[in-house]
Amino acid sequence: MNGLEIDLIQVHNGELDRRPKITCAGELEVFSTLEDNLTEALPQENCEWRRTFGRPVRSVHIGATFLPYSLEALPKGNQWDLIRQPLFHIYFTDCMDVDVYKASVKEDIENWLKDLNAKDINDWLIVVVESFDGKRSNKLLPRTTVLDKIRADFAAKQGDRCISVINPNKTESRSADSWRGLVSRIRHLLLVAYGKAICRLEEHVRQQREKRNEPGWSFLKYFSLQEELAQVLEMLGLYDEALVQYDELDALFSQFVTNGITNESVSWLGTFQNPLERWHGLNLKQSKLPENASILELRAYIFAKQAHMLLLIHKVWEMASRCLPFLHNCTRELVILEISAPAGTVSCWLFLAAMEVLETCERFNHADEVEEYSLHTAALWEYASQKVKDLGKLCGLMPGGSPTSEQLHIVVGLSAGMGDSPGTPTNPSPTDKLKEALCSQEAFYKTYLELAELAMGTYKHIGRLRSARLVGREVASFYMLLGETQKAAAFLGDVLRTFEQDGWHELAAQTNLELAECFKQAQDTRKFISSCASVSAALEIDTLIRWTYFDEMCKCLNLLEEPLIVPFNNIIKIVSVSLTNDDPIMQDSNITAELVIESNFPKEVLCTNFMISIESDNKDNKKMMEKYCASRILTNRDMKQQDPVMQRLRIKKNLDFKQDKQLASAGVASKFTELRRKDSSPIQVQPGDFSHCLEVSKLPLVLTPGLNIMRLNKQANHIGKYYLGQIAIHIKSLHLVSPALSPKLAFEVKEEAPTLKLYKKAAPLLSGIEQVMNLILTIGSYPVDPEAKIKLIASPGLTMQIAPKAGLVSTLEIEAGKNVPFSSTRKPLRVLADMLTKEHQVTVHVPWTSKPIVVPLSFAPPLTAFWKLYTVLHRKFVQINITGQCEKDLIVNQAKLNVGGAMDIVEKNYASVQIISNGSTYSYIWELLVKSDMESTIKAEFSLVYKLENQDDVNKLYQYFFDITDFQTLYILDAAVEPAKETEFCRAGVVCRLNLTMENVALHLRAPDSTSIMYEVLAEQSVWAVCGRTAGVVSFEPAERLRIVALDVMPLASGHLPLPAVRISKYIPGETGSAVIFLLDILKKGDTHPRLEPFSPGQVYNKSKGKQLHVIVNSNEGV
């Protein structure tokens, strides 16, 4: 064990032996054979130590030193310093014979015990050493042994105070057991005794502490007292508790210093206020508190002890962590106590102490140990580097100077005060190092830079980048003094980056200032200009300084040979960028953008150029992550990284169902995905491609401090999708370039293709007449080759022509003609469609697209006609109505009806020329002279010639074909209403008789079978009420000619009433006799229900149509 070894070392040093003392009485020759074994065996195993005041049980190792018993050395039982006195007493005897025992040993023990009791000592043990030999085992056990006797005589109640042991020098198995028993008994009893002694000591320490405010109390005396307790605990292996004792002492002293300086009673503190004479380095390996110690020596001693304990409990890191507060505390106490010391001595001492701790740490180089203590040593390295720098300053060792004789004198004084603590040549002690560092400038530089480098390295290792950068800043200023500007610039650059990353603008500005100085010294014009620009734009810096740097920058700009690119950063802030065009931008129009920027330069600056680059927005290299600006304006708010904290959370409900569809849990979830890592590396600004850019028309332009509004424009030459890339401001050779604008402000430049459209005029197109349509060619954003051919192909039956005099053709080619963008030309196109088809189309082939344009055209005839058949008994008339459809009046002539000679026709028209205007109708009428033996269908053709009124055009023929079917009269209906009998008139409300006469007049025309007809009275319900049946079926016998049906009807109103209308229909009975027909019927209809078939209009003539009946008011009503 590590602790044990150190213990033993101390034992050999002979000054710190805190092992309890044990006296031995009785037969010392017996004991002397055991002594070595016992001394060795006791601390080997641990033993539980139970303590008072409910403190936890600890397992400890206890050793002992043995002394021969002497009455004079016995302490009083209640002495406080029992710990230093013999506190356990053992009587050894090897008497095996009871008689011998009774004769001499008993009395001896009695005397020994009497002495002990007289001193109030209860911690004793009687050991009977037996020499075990083989022959005894054969004997019977003696009735009583010496041990029994002793136990009965002296330890009747405390059986454990007597023990026998078989002499372990004779190696036998039984002896080992009994030996172990003895050792553990001694350990136990010793610990009990020792525990009591410790209690006593603790009590005493407490009492002494209570007296600390009494005059005459001395800290140092108390210190040694409590330290004794600590040493005891340390001896027991309770290093943590020993540490507590030292910590208490440490705290007590601090308390005295901070509180007690004004207090009269702490006069002892005065001894610590003597001026410092020695500043020997802290030594953790061997610490000794010298006589009349200075405060630093006392402090160093306490810290060394604490460190010692911490190392024993393997807490290297805690030692390291305690070091810096300890050093700070010491400096503060020196100040409080107003201790005078030669300049630099304190720094010396602090440096040495820090280095000692660091070196001690370095001896422990387990990976996890290093990990643990690095957290604390980093600051210690920094501290050490600061201290050595302070010393360097004091002794004139800083770069750019040389020590004066006075300063050399200081060095000598400091070195003398440090004392000597030489290390090995390979491993010099801190004192050696410091002495060497103070000897020469080079050694000092080396020492300082080495320490700073270590501090930075350790800081970086433990992840304290900012602290590392701050050390770097110190180093940079050192390098500046050394004139190594390049190194200084590298460090400052790192510092600047860290500050900017964290957004500490003031510090960043300050660092820029330092950088500017650095570059100035290095005469690096380019970098100097860029840092000058940063400094002059830093609002945090004093305006006068900014002016100075701005002027310097302007001066240096003239020296620049090549352009210098400087990112916008804080120099120019983009407030907003907006495109003032509408989207999409037409080709060849101007793209105009308005840019609002804030210049942070302290003065006006003349810009030689001002551009916003335009980049093509290729779909191919588009990343998914790229954001686009939704509107046409991009403000600085858009450009700022959206703070995820400020975003509205999208909360969704979240329901989990069990397998049986029951709800298991319900909750809300947020799909908040903004937990992406932000790209922490600063955006590198590379000047993009400014070959296409928006420009300012008037150059140069003056950029004033604060807000500036710029208007930039550019003609859109090429179509495509673009976005605004970067902004560049050129101030002579200084090119300020913004980062790429994000989100992207995209716009589209479009071309407009030429279009060709065929429009008809407002009126509908008519066939058979030549009409004019408009062919409109609109040129888009680019001109069309004037000789390009536009081809129009008409569908069959349609002809057209564009040239005024040329004849109509079905395929036409036209040249596009001279044109300018965004113009349109109208060409009249004459078209003529024949009468036969209504739907036509024109297919247009244009040179700019391969897809033909199809224009459907719908032509209407100029006239429409319809015919109607009229019947008077057996006579038939055909009426033909024609309606003009043409916008213009039509002149019609030579109307003819041709029935193909099927019968004779008689024209009833006045043969003349008619003018038919749009929408008006003209009727022609012919009588058909019907013969009984005629076809039931006659094909008729109506024709006339027409021409447009105002044109000397040839007459065109209009034809109208129609069929006349079932025109022969089959039945003649007659109806008459008679008043009821005995009445003269028909009265409203009185039942009258309706006589319905149906005359079959077509007996000669057809087969005699289908003669059933059905009549229906369709009386208007408000006028007539039909009493009884309203319909019936009448069957004509083959030769039957006339049928009269009487029905009862009642007029509901008075006056001249039209007779009730009667309709007759063919009645086809449900069942017919013929099986074939029946079958056919089933096939056709699927049923055999009777059905009705209407007669065609010419087949029934109703005589009573238009007849009226005078119905007079009911006389009863009148009364």
């Binding site: 810096l324 602290s467 964290d502 500490w504 003031e506 904290v645």
Partner: protein, 139 residues
């Protein structure tokens, strides 16, 4: 009595900074900045324990010869830093703690102000006044 108070945002940039002696502000900024290292370290350690009810007060972050630097972190990772003169023995842990609590409540008030945009530097005069009062212990 504190000599300097800093409020550092989530992104580690300073949102508010005040010193009793304005001439020393720059020096204090360096000190507070390096304290952020320790704050980050403590926060990272804390997250491993995953204790939701985290103690906001971080205790002393580090000491310098002349100053002691204390830290406090809100649940939204706003850091409050107090710098105390190390010769000032009157300020004990409890006083610092209560100072932080007062600053926290002042900060909560300013964040509630609809005219303050969270994340922007705080430039309210009344806020500065109250913080100064907290620093000097007049509240």
């Amino acid at each position: 009595m504190a000599v300097c108070v800093g409020i550092i945002g989530k992104d580690n940039s300073p949102k508010f900074f005040t010193c009793l002696n304005p001439a020393e502000e720059l020096n204090f900024q360096y000190k507070v900045l390096s304290a952020l290292d320790v704050v980050e370290e403590k926060l990272n350690c804390g997250s491993k324990g995953a204790t939701d009810l985290r103690e906001l007060y971080l205790g002393m972050l580090y000491t310098l010869e002349t100053h002691k630097i204390y830290g406090y972190v809100t649940n939204t990772k706003i850091k409050f830093i107090i710098v105390v003169d190390s010769t000032n023995m009157a300020l004990r842990d409890n006083e610092i703690r209560s100072m932080f609590r007062k600053i926290h409540s002042e900060y909560a008030d300013i964040v509630c102000n609809p005219f303050y945009i969270p994340g922007e530097p705080i430039c309210s005069k009344s806020f500065t006044g109250s913080i100064k009062n907290i620093m000097t212990g007049t509240v």
